[in-house]
């Protein structure tokens, strides 16, 4: 079982993870800003080593899937770290878009194509556009170099760490005891099934949603326009 190849790739995986995570943490600290190019290179190298080890240790049929998963994870984590470290608020919003794109990739990996499309159209196309507009119409934050470290940063880091541990252990126990069963789509594809349930089962909520959209649209116009 524990052949030299497996042991080598396990060490590669763990070393890559340690190097990558520690350089990402150092990247987020303002004091190490002069070395950020070196640290970013180190993070990318650690990530490549980690993915390589991960692929070598999985079954041959799942290797591509593992590659996709860690690629999207790199987008999510890299976008998140970039979002909280970028000095320019506009660039921070763009990094948040990268993070959301990675989440859309996750949705495709679990066969939820419709959710992936909603993620791209609503979050990136709609909400992030509003974010960017909000940034672009405010005078004072354009082009200024933000300092993203506040006295609350250590507490925020501790909270994020605790949350991460909770999610990590939940995920760990869920993989040990898989209880989630996926019901097969009636219409053969995810999007079509959503359409069918919108039309058949949830016809009334569907029509009510249009009233909600109507109110949102009228409210926005009335609030924004003076007349």
């Amino acid at each position: 079982m524990a052949t030299p190849v497996v042991i080598f790739f396990s060490y590669l995986l763990v070393a890559g993870l340690l190097v990558g995570v520690s350089s990402l943490i150092l990247l987020a600290i303002a004091r190490f800003r002069p070395y950020r190019r070196f640290l970013a290179t180190l993070a990318v190298l650690g990530f490549v080593a980690f993915v390589w080890g991960m692929c070598a240790l999985t079954q041959p049929g799942y290797r591509l899937l593992v590659c996709y998963f860690w690629l999207f994870t790199a987008a999510v984590v890299g976008g998140g770290v970039g979002c909280v470290t970028m000095r320019n608020v506009f660039h921070a919003a763009l990094m948040l878009i990268l993070s959301l794109l990675g989440v859309a990739g996750y949705f495709i990996l679990v066969n939820a194509e419709f959710l992936a499309m909603v993620q791209v159209i609503i979050y990136i196309g709609g909400i992030m556009v509003l974010f960017l507009f909000g940034i672009m119409v405010s005078q004072n934050i354009i082009g200024t170099q933000l300092k993203q470290n506040t006295p609350q940063s250590p507490w925020a880091a501790i909270c994020a760490g605790v949350l991460f541990m909770v999610m990590f252990f939940t995920g760990l126990f869920m993989t040990l005891k898989p209880t989630l069963t996926v019901t097969p789509d009636v219409l053969g594809n995810n999007t079509g099934s959503v359409g069918w349930s919108l039309m058949a089962t949830y016809a009334l909520p569907f029509e009510v949603a249009s009233v909600l959209l109507l109110m949102a649209m009228l409210g926005a116009i009335i609030l924004v326009r003076k007349d």
Binding site: F114, V137, M217
Partner: protein, 133 residues
């Protein structure tokens, strides 16, 4: 087993596109004269005129209402898209798939949905929210 087979083509397409782009730049690097970047060459190209100020300037607030109206139609599209994908199945059904088709009322439901939204569109149009103010 998670089937992402059809999306492998998307990944391949992205990879191929990146390769073509990289190849084009690599070939250009072989043939072009050596680049000597100077301050003048690094300027943003604005049809030959010198660019003034930063690109990240303050936008006019009048763009914001367009963004909000866009967001509403964006959400509408999310509701219309799954309907459009499965419309033929919803109306006529399929002998190979066991489910009850809805029939012509699938069209009616969507028209009711859009009809309510048309009110909002008409209001926005009459108030001039879609025009340049």
């Amino acid at each position: 087993m998670i089937t992402t087979g059809q999306y492998n083509w998307v990944a391949l397409f992205l990879l191929g596109g990146a390769c073509v782009l990289g190849l084009a730049f690599a070939l250009a690097a072989l043939y072009r004269p050596a680049a000597r970047p100077s301050m003048l060459k690094r300027l943003t190209y604005e049809s030959g005129a010198r660019a003034l100020g930063d690109a990240l300037l303050r936008f006019n607030i009048r763009f914001y209402i367009l963004a909000i109206v866009f967001l509403m139609f964006d959400v509408d599209v999310i509701f219309i898209f799954p309907w459009a994908v499965s419309f033929r199945l919803l109306v006529f059904g399929d002998n190979n798939i066991v489910f009850t088709p809805i029939g012509p009322s699938a069209l009616t439901e969507m028209f009711v949905f859009l009809g309510i939204l048309i009110i909002g569109w008409a209001y926005a149009y009459r108030k001039g929210a879609l025009e340049w103010v």
